[in-house]
């Protein structure tokens, strides 16, 4: 009975504080997820510092904290990850992605593999085993689309060539980032893993792509309350279970289910119900839980700070370099003569800077890597601290850097607005003159 009581209490406190934290941080025009993480850090450290006994706040895990309630809250957080990726995929416009141009494709590939390889090698140089170093590299791959979109919208450049390419590239590197974590947590030989990936893609992507329509029709014919919703979530969990058993990464199943379902109008109509479950309960709990896993005592030695500094530097420069170079080398489809121009360099730099922020997918990959064993328990606190730091730095530096990178476009827009205003005033004056003349 007590377990249930404290679990309900922890859930209640977590959700209320998550929403308050989200709201507070949004006021500073920063991603709300930071607020949820901060609330988690506060709650978790009430336990780590012995202010609250662990059984009363079962949102932290680790040695010495394992209780039934902790296991349940860990599972709820996992459900949060699954729902987050499911929602992310369901919101994807697959048709739009098909139209992605060469610049976005090349810059996505380099924008993912440059930070991955840089992170992998730097971490190996620091003495981490190859698998752990690879997992660390994967954390750096996926850009958070939200912040860049918001800033580009504010600057009025989202519909520019760079804006459109950035948008497509950010969606695509989520795909790659989520897919690559399989190689970090998957077990067995590379050939076994590759066969499993191909099989998984055939089952959940190709076959399901053709069957999903019939499945939804079948669900509709059941004529029960929220029947389609229940059947969709059920199938999503089956996919997640398959992915968990083959790759120790349930998110892959949820992501594929969301992606396939996004092609159907019926799937899209379920969005509101799914968001209610996801963002009303599971996703904020996942962020609070992740924040609560950061034990601030980890900063007692320099290891965590060194790791955080290295990952931050690689995250920022790796992305700008990779995505920027990828865009530069394609010369934006304007031919060789454009390659060595200042404009190409500047546009590519804008593209690179737009790819700096990381949030949700980095946290999801972190949790998958920890739970999948790619990051061992003794290193988990360091990686949690480092990831939270590079996420925070990346979202803080992106807006001012983007404003700087787009300063010419902003100036042009301002001056054309001003000149249009002057033109309109002149036109009005002319009309008044004409009217006076006719009188």
């Amino acid at each position: 009975m007590e377990t249930v009581t404290w679990l309900l209490f922890a859930l209640g406190i977590s959700l209320i504080l998550a929403k308050i934290g989200d709201s507070l941080i949004e006021r500073f025009e920063l991603p709300g997820v930071l607020g949820e993480l901060i609330m988690g850090i506060i709650l978790g450290n009430l336990v780590y510092f012995g202010i609250v006994a662990p059984q009363y706040l079962p949102i932290v895990s680790g040695e010495g904290f394992t209780t039934d309630a902790t296991q349940v809250s860990e599972f709820l957080a996992k459900l949060g990850i699954i729902f987050l990726l499911f929602l992310g995929a369901l919101d994807t416009d697959v048709e739009q992605l098909k139209k992605t141009g060469l610049t976005a494709t090349v810059s996505t590939l380099l924008g993912v593999f440059v930070p991955l390889i840089m992170g992998w090698f730097v971490l190996m140089e620091m003495g981490y085993p190859s698998k752990e170093a690879f997992a660390g590299g994967v954390l750096l791959t996926a850009t958070s689309i939200g912040l860049t979109v918001r800033v580009m919208m504010d600057l009025g450049v989202l519909k520019s060539e760079v804006g459109v390419a950035s948008l497509s590239a950010s969606v695509m590197d989520d795909f790659l980032g989520i897919a690559l974590i399989i190689f970090a947590v998957g077990t067995g030989s590379l050939i076994d893993l590759s066969i499993k990936i191909v099989l998984f893609f055939i089952i959940t992507g190709v076959i399901w792509w053709y069957l999903v329509d019939h499945y939804i029709r079948f669900a509709e014919r059941l004529h029960v309350e929220k029947g389609v919703l229940g059947m969709v979530i059920g199938m999503m969990f089956l996919f997640a279970a398959l992915a968990e058993s083959w790759f120790a990464a349930a998110i892959e199943g949820a992501f594929m289910m969301g992606l396939v379902l996004s092609k159907l109008p019926e799937g899209r109509r379920l969005m509101d119900d799914l968001r209610a479950i996801g963002y009303g309960l599971l996703v904020p709990f996942f962020f609070v839980h992740t924040g609560a896993m950061l034990n601030l005592t980890v900063f007692e030695n320099a290891d965590a700070l060194v790791l955080a500094t290295v990952l931050t530097v690689v995250a920022v420069f790796g992305k700008v370099l990779g995505r920027g170079f990828g865009a530069w080398i394609t010369a934006w489809g304007r031919g060789r003569e454009f390659l060595f121009t200042k404009e190409n360099l500047w546009m590519s730099l804008q593209m690179g800077i737009g790819s700096i922020p990381r949030t949700e997918v980095a946290l999801v990959n972190l949790m998958v890597a920890i739970h999948g064993g790619a990051i061992p328990p003794e290193d988990a606190p360091k990686f949690i601290a480092a990831t939270l730091i590079f996420i925070t730095v990346s979202v803080l530096i992106t807006p001012p850097l983007l404003k700087w990178a787009f300063k010419n476009e902003i100036e042009k827009a301002r001056s054309s607005k001003a000149s249009r205003k002057v033109e309109r005033i002149m036109e009005t004056k002319e009309k008044i003159k004409e009217l006076k003349g006719s009188q």
């Binding site: 929602l87 939200g146 918001r150 919208m153 989202l158 389609v228 019926e266």
Partner: protein
């Protein structure tokens, strides 16, 4: 009894027999200016977006409620994974064409379906209107208003036969 008989006939009616003519539909091409969409939405609850008027290939739909996303400034949105689509519809955020703000893949029903099929679909997904399609071509629409009109017409014209 009169109403029961009318409803029975009503439910089994084919959608194609009651839907309005295609030329009366609120349709815009995907490259149409948003302002034209807004003008249509002053008197309609939705607008269908098609590839071109020649092919009538259905691209999406813009409902009256979608105008909220169109009119809001970009900073009114929450930028979270799984919640970015609405954001991209903002006029101030850069949306200019009907295709930018249309919800792709709207709910559809085949023209051979019955009124009962349409009602069941409307109930399941809480929508008031469905696009009637022949393959991927928009050929009509069925809305609750059309259905009400049809039921009332049935009651009016068939009143004597229902009683008999």
């Amino acid at each position: 009894m009169e109403l029961e008989n009318a409803l029975e006939t009503f439910h089994s009616m084919k959608i194609e027999s009651i839907m309005p003519k295609p030329e009366t539909l609120p349709v815009v091409e995907k490259d149409a200016e948003i302002i034209n969409v807004l003008k249509l939405l002053r008197t309609r609850h939705h607008v269908w977006v098609v590839e071109s008027r020649e092919t009538m290939k259905l691209v999406g739909a813009i409902r009256l409620l979608d105008v909220i996303d169109v009119l809001l400034p970009p900073d009114a949105y929450k930028f979270k994974l799984g919640m970015t689509r609405g954001t991209l519809k903002s006029l101030l955020g850069g949306a200019t064409k009907a295709g930018d703000v249309a919800e792709r893949n709207p709910l559809t029903i085949e023209c051979g379906a019955t009124v009962l099929d349409a009602l069941m679909k409307m109930k399941k997904y809480r929508v008031q209107v469905l696009a009637v399609v022949d393959g991927d071509r928009l050929v009509g629409e069925v809305s609750l208003r059309i259905l009400i009109d049809e039921l009332l017409r049935l009651l009016r014209v068939g009143g004597v036969s229902w009683k008999r």
